[in-house]
Symmetry: C2
Subunit: 315 residues, 2 copies
Amino acid sequence: MKALPILIVGSMAFDDLEFPRPVRDAAGGCVHSRFEDVIGGSATYAAYAASCYAPVRVVAVVGDDFPEATLEHMRSRRVDTQGVERVSGKTFRWVGRYHADMVGRDSLATELNVFADFRPKIPESYRDSRYILLGNIHPALQLEVLDQVREPELVVADSMNFWIEREREALGRLLKRIDVLVINDEEARLLAGEHNVSLAAAEILRMGPKSVVVKRGEYGALYYDAEGVFAAPALPLHEVVDPTGAGDSFAGGMLGYVAERRRTDHAAMRRALVNATAAASYCVEAVGTRGVQDRSRHELAERVGRILALYRVDP
Amino acid sequence: MKALPILIVGSMAFDDLEFPRPVRDAAGGCVHSRFEDVIGGSATYAAYAASCYAPVRVVAVVGDDFPEATLEHMRSRRVDTQGVERVSGKTFRWVGRYHADMVGRDSLATELNVFADFRPKIPESYRDSRYILLGNIHPALQLEVLDQVREPELVVADSMNFWIEREREALGRLLKRIDVLVINDEEARLLAGEHNVSLAAAEILRMGPKSVVVKRGEYGALYYDAEGVFAAPALPLHEVVDPTGAGDSFAGGMLGYVAERRRTDHAAMRRALVNATAAASYCVEAVGTRGVQDRSRHELAERVGRILALYRVDP
């Protein structure tokens, strides 16, 4: 069966990253603890991960400083960039500093630039997309995307504490129209007003989505739907080089697998979560998108094998 | 094959516990947020969990205030209490207050009482024990236990930051004589001087033990030995009533399963870890030892089934 294309809407960005200790740069040569103008953004990471499994269509906005070479590289990975709008001005930039544990981080600056006026316009050729990934943007914009697609089969949405706290009403409307909400444990607690993760997930399911994925960083993720709960442990790595984009790669890998298999039942979603885990584990192994951008389908399958071996229990 | 007896050395204690909100008491009736004179201690929890799988022999010390009824109940669960020394004075008491997240906790008081002079004396009838669990006591005392047993086959030891920081030399000698070290992630980092858990585990294996279990609370545990790593996710629970003793129940359940099956290979240890997870999940469902003390072997098997279903991935 042919993999169906995935529509991904989100940010494309430059990231300036500071790490607590020097890490190998993408080329593998020198080591630095500061990196500037690293290509990032939720749509970029998710598109690269998803493209290992299925064709991807991206809707995003960049300024005139964004390298055409990146868009070209994405196209070489079967990512359609027709929906990437280039407007006059500077590209969205995030400046972040990671703590010593490589988990906590401070946002030193968030320069929205051209992203401030982003209104996702879905090209006519994208509107038949069945698999939709709504990156972490204003829930009202996520809703606008859904108004522009004809027959969504599985809609996955990301969100964050910012929207949960300030745009509760729009987020509530969004939750009624999506299939899978992907958030981290703190966001799940905030959204549900409940500390216990399982109770929080149950409460979120009552808000509308058919399933919810609770990301727990280095511990992995929990997936909840009407049929039960799946625990997807993360692969313990000897070195986390750069955690930026891990959550977006996770979502991209998950939906990529679904679009490839064209199955959304509980058992298929378990496998999708393992593939998501594999994509995220590649992502954190290098600075920026370098860990995930050149992976083959075969490499993903290999990593999935390693992950399954991690928690296999023979009778 | 007949389960072999397990020797457990550790503390028996009274715990005074304070929770951030009222919880059901053991009898299931009223709810309180403070509990006094709760039966606790590492040996008590571990013995109850292990006794679901195999006969248990306990070495500990109690004061004249410790209820004979508890020892009687333990004997009814095939726990041999011949090695429980009763001396004049008060039993060890821990006073703890749990934080709102039910994970963090403050030790408000640690009254060693008769435990201060504890020197484990292994009764002659215990000295043929093959499976040994050294609860979290001074590493010099843990070593004294090993000097008193004839043919240990699998020695499991617990430790804590207190000994890692102050008794590094004795702990180093102990590590060369044990098979499995069971500690939590913070202790693993402290012991190895390495933040990354996988690297810390590799460093700990170089110190002597054949394997190391890194406990990560609600996230589960990681098991490392020469053959690889096993991730044992915890069962997500709707309510954690009392986390006290979860780690001891975990260690007891793990060694209990090993003593029942008399296998210590990598595949068997994976199953042992799942049984450990099951015992710990029962433990936290009630105040004190009530969650684990009356469990049947069948209930443990049932819980193991639920846990395996949690992360089963069908091809």
